[in-house]
Symmetry: C2
Subunit: 344 residues, 2 copies
DNA sequence: TTGAAAGCGGTACCAA
DNA sequence: TTGGTACCGCTTTCAA
């Protein structure tokens, strides 16, 4: 590391002790205004930046929080979530250490250990598996906040999204438009997020006396293809419903793509709803009707909870569930005349 | 911060001084094997993690590097780049502090200051503007590595991608297939990346005696729409070429979308090449032919350069230019018979 | 083979 | 109003 000026350096230049300099820079009441001004000027000139590691060491504080995710980009929601967390943390003078686990439990634990060693006050982890014992072991007494759908809602600190409600909202919207034959398209492998969506969907459909159809196709690694395959399968069986709710926006785009390739109009013939609202412009000639997860609120809540656990913020509930919201754009409309009925 | 065990804690449990414990844990030659084993066992049991901040303070080292980007996600290349940087850093026991500037110079500088205060050894910055004076001011003596197309290639430490070569590769591929009427689609606002692509394209076309056509449309914030608008404009003027090179993959998807909406086949009627290769599966029913920026190499190089500047690695060239590579998938083919000629 | 002392940069306490 | 001293957790040096 390059030689930055320290309190001592400034003190020498000012003919003062490092203690006086420290006080002057922090506007202590027992330093004369003249001295303060002089010291501040010198510090400014020398480009002084306090060494937070040293300060934290003495004060037994933290000025960083950690975050571990499976991967950034790759059409996941972690990018937007990180943006919010970064902003909220910077607002409070904290910085964020981030690690990509590349979906490896070993790397996940390794990131946690490195960050704990580097004195993060708390960790926000979107684990790549539902089993998080290795993470807890790696973090020891450092508090961990779990985020993301794979997590057990009974963890001590956890921020989740209510995907059951997603199902309710999707069905409510589509049924409200007059659809009665609605299918949910999901993908493998089974996880808590998918299960919740299926549950919410089934419950909402049955509540309306409608038959819930759930089609599982493809794999999480390529949900766009999964959407196409699901639609192809439905078409091949002559079982196309009038509305589709897809478990992810990407899947929805794949579904729309496949429908249009077969000369079907969206939303003219078939309505499609997505999930996540990762890219408002994803389907630019119309805009995808979708369910928005409240990333900004989740990010802010994660930082608040982290600071609260560090003891740098007020009390915050240790478990929070966020509610998705419906965003109506151009891929949903009433069903074609005469097709609103429930199939056999 | 929760009370983690320290060397002193372990020493008390082991009936030794903290010095002996420190040595034992680091396998110093002057500690007996028996003591080492005993100490290590106790440390293990207590879940000891060395306080790297304290170690760094004494050793005047850094164990973290910083990275500042305009935003994660949002269809930028920073996600994949971060993944690589994270992996390379973790490999070497370093962690990465990341900040999203939300395209604000103030926040950009703020992140830099916070990270410098937190003792990062070096910073990797993808600036949101070409002017980087505020960043340099915020970082002081801490070395900064600039990445991304907006940067002046004369900066002291800089990693770039040769977008002129992208133009050459795109033209070479399309001309090799028999295309003579090729247009480049770009978007505003003008920046160094775009300028380089245009330059490389023009040069390559003229080298083959072909007329370079460049269409600028839309805005960087929604390049998918820009791609659609560009195609609509070309169709309206009856000036559609047989091949399009789009400045981004997203723009290419928009272009393909618009072409197909008009009943044109890709690559049957028109070939389309993208740029970046952010999502191999972006256009699932074919796969987009595109130019791939070598993210993995750039990430690795960034970390190596950072460590070299910290004095923790070997010598590394301070400026590096990476070469994009052509990835041929399903959106390029020879032009339709009789349409390979150069237009008036 | 072990440990006392000093120092990294900062802050708190108390004496001058 | 100022500064000496001690301490945060760790490592290095040197004496026991």
């Amino acid at each position: 590391m390059p030689n930055r000026p320290t309190l001592k350096t400034i003190g020498q230049a000012a003919g003062l002790s490092h203690v006086a300099v420290s006080k002057a820079l922090r506007d202590a009441p027992d330093i004369s205004a003249a001295t303060k001004e002089r010291v501040k000027k010198i510090a400014e000139e020398m480009g002084y930046t306090p060494n937070l590691a040293a300060r934290n060491l003495y004060l037994q504080q933290a000025s960083a929080i950690g975050m571990v995710v499976p991967a950034m980009g790759e059409n996941t929601a972690y990018g937007p979530l990180f943006n919010e967390i970064s902003a909220a943390a910077a607002e409070l003078g904290f910085c964020v250490m981030l690690g990509s686990s590349h979906r490896s439990k070993e790397l996940e634990a390794r990131h946690c250990r490195i960050m704990v060693g580097n004195q993060v006050g708390a960790l926000i982890v979107a684990s790549c598996t539902s089993d998080v014992s290795h993470i807890k072991a790696a973090c020891g007494p450092t508090p961990v906040i779990f985020v993301g759908g794979k997590t057990d809602p009974e963890e001590e600190h956890v921020l989740l999204c209510d995907y059951r409600r997603s199902g309710a909202l999707a069905v409510e919207h589509l049924a409200g438009l007059g659809h009665r034959d609605i299918a949910l398209l999901t993908y493998g492998p089974e996880n808590r997020t998918i299960a919740q969506k299926e549950e919410g969907f089934t419950q909402a459909m049955e509540g309306l006396g409608l038959r819930p159809r759930i089609i599982r196709a493809g794999h999480a690694s390529d949900t766009m293809r999964a959407g196409m395959e699901a639609v192809e399968g439905l078409l091949a069986r002559g079982a196309l419903p009038t509305a589709l709710w897809c478990a992810s926006d990407y899947m929805a785009v794949g579904a729309v793509n496949a429908l249009r390739a077969h000369g079907l109009s969206v939303p003219g013939h078939v309505s499609v709803v997505g999930h996540d609202d990762l890219w408002p412009g994803l389907w630019p000639d119309a805009g995808l009707t979708t369910l928005r997860t409240p990333m900004a609120e989740m990010g802010k809540a994660a930082v608040e909870l982290a600071l609260s656990l560090i003891g740098q913020g007020g009390q915050v509930p240790p478990r929070q569930v966020f509610r998705p919201a419906l965003v109506v754009r151009g891929t949903t409309a009433p069903p074609p005349p005469g097709q609103g009925g429930q199939p056999g």
